[in-house]
């Protein structure tokens, strides 16, 4: 930018117009090519690749069970209710793990709709 400003140049306007025209032309050509290739205009926006989803699944499930087990064990320690806290919370943790996996896999809707619809 700066070197163009420094140069007293009457042809700069014409140059700019020329550049603009060329850019528009290029844009049109790229657009045409995209359609030829069957690419949707919006489709190059980031989207989870399949591998990324796959990598998420296992840890999601294990974490649910681990958290359930840990909380159950802690509950038993605190209230001396062994083994019931562990039994109940591991089962709930199992359910939470499954819920995590189903959310990641897209089987369940991410969040069940509440009263205030944001977004």
């Amino acid at each position: 930018m700066s070197d163009r400003d420094g140069r007293p140049d009457q042809s700069s306007d014409a140059e700019d117009a020329e550049l603009c025209k060329r850019l528009r032309e290029l844009d049109k050509r790229i657009g045409e090519r995209r359609i030829d290739l069957g690419e949707d205009e919006r489709d190059d926006a980031p989207r989870s690749p399949g591998v990324a989803v796959a990598l998420r699944l296992s840890a999601d499930f294990v974490a649910g069970v681990v958290v359930g087990g840990a909380l159950g064990w802690g509950f038993d320690k605190l209230f001396d209710t062994s083994p019931w806290g562990l039994v109940v919370l591991i089962l709930l943790g199992f359910a939470a793990g499954l819920l995590n996996v189903m959310r990641t896999a897209g089987i369940v809707r991410p969040r069940t709709g509440g009263p205030d619809e944001g977004r």
């Binding site: 926006a45 980031p46 840890a59 974490a63 958290v67 969040r111 709709g113 509440g114 009263p115």
Partner: protein, 249 residues
């Protein structure tokens, strides 16, 4: 070094520092965290220095990184989520550079230690929790109470939702740490096979071709995993931030 696959994860003290009986030593882990930050900063500052309208190759790479993270965040958390862009971008670029630095032979992989990944995921989940509470006050807890559920089932569902929420930082940290740890151990084990087999003479060298090929393939896979894990961490951060912004959704 030899062929012990766990040796690479050991932490050594480089500069011993002790403040009030607490060990603050500068370790190899700290060194590589500093290198990660320096590398990421250097990449972004140097590549965007030209500020060209038509970007150079490096500037284009930096712009693509920016647009990629910005697009991910905007898509999953809406435009209100963009105020968390510096946070998400820092996490993404830190994890990406730490993972990629770890791919150099003899380098230390910061993200293969659960304490590092756990600290990052706690930062994420505490941000979600406090920002959600600050923004929505007690309405934030609607996150755990789905509507349209029979009253009999509601306590169970709520418990499951709470457990699911608590399991998030754990799965977030375990995923990154386990992937990096397992990948580096596998790589080391296969490379160790090559050394061991090739010491058995000609037949051994012939036999070593197989693990060598596996090691090469695994290296490529590790590069993929390094980038993908950074991406997964970033996109999950975005999804969780979305919960903080729109808990009833």
């Amino acid at each position: 070094m030899a062929t012990d696959p766990i040796n690479q994860f050991q932490i050594h003290t480089l500069i011993p520092i002790e403040v009030g009986g607490v060990d603050f030593s500068f370790t190899n882990s700290a060194l590589f965290m500093a290198l990660t930050v320096a590398g990421a900063s250097a990449f972004l500052i140097l590549s965007s220095r030209g500020r060209g309208l038509v970007p150079t190759r490096w500037q284009s790479a930096a712009e693509m990184t920016y647009e990629f993270v910005a697009g991910t965040l905007r898509e999953s958390a809406g435009s209100e989520g963009m105020k968390f862009f510096p946070f998400v971008f820092s996490l993404f670029i830190f994890i990406l550079f730490a993972n990629l630095l770890g791919m150099f032979p003899y380098f230390f992989t910061v993200t293969s230690h659960i304490i590092v990944t756990a600290a990052m995921s706690m930062a994420v989940i505490l941000t979600v929790l406090f920002y959600g509470l600050w923004l929505h006050k007690l309405h934030f807890f609607k996150l755990f109470v789905p509507s349209g559920v029979p009253v009999v089932l509601l306590p169970f569902i709520t418990m499951i939702e709470i457990l699911s929420f608590i399991s998030r930082p754990i799965s977030l940290s375990i995923r990154l740490f386990a992937n990096m740890l397992a990948g580096h151990i596998t790589l080391k084990v296969f490379a160790g096979f090559v050394v061991m087999l090739s010491s058995f003479g000609f037949v051994g060298i012939l036999g070593a071709i197989l693990p060598l090929a596996a090691a090469v393939a695994l290296t490529a896979l590790e590069f993929l995993v390094a980038a993908l894990q950074a991406y997964v961490f970033a996109i999950l951060t975005c999804l969780y931030l979305n919960d903080a912004l729109h808990p009833g959704h």
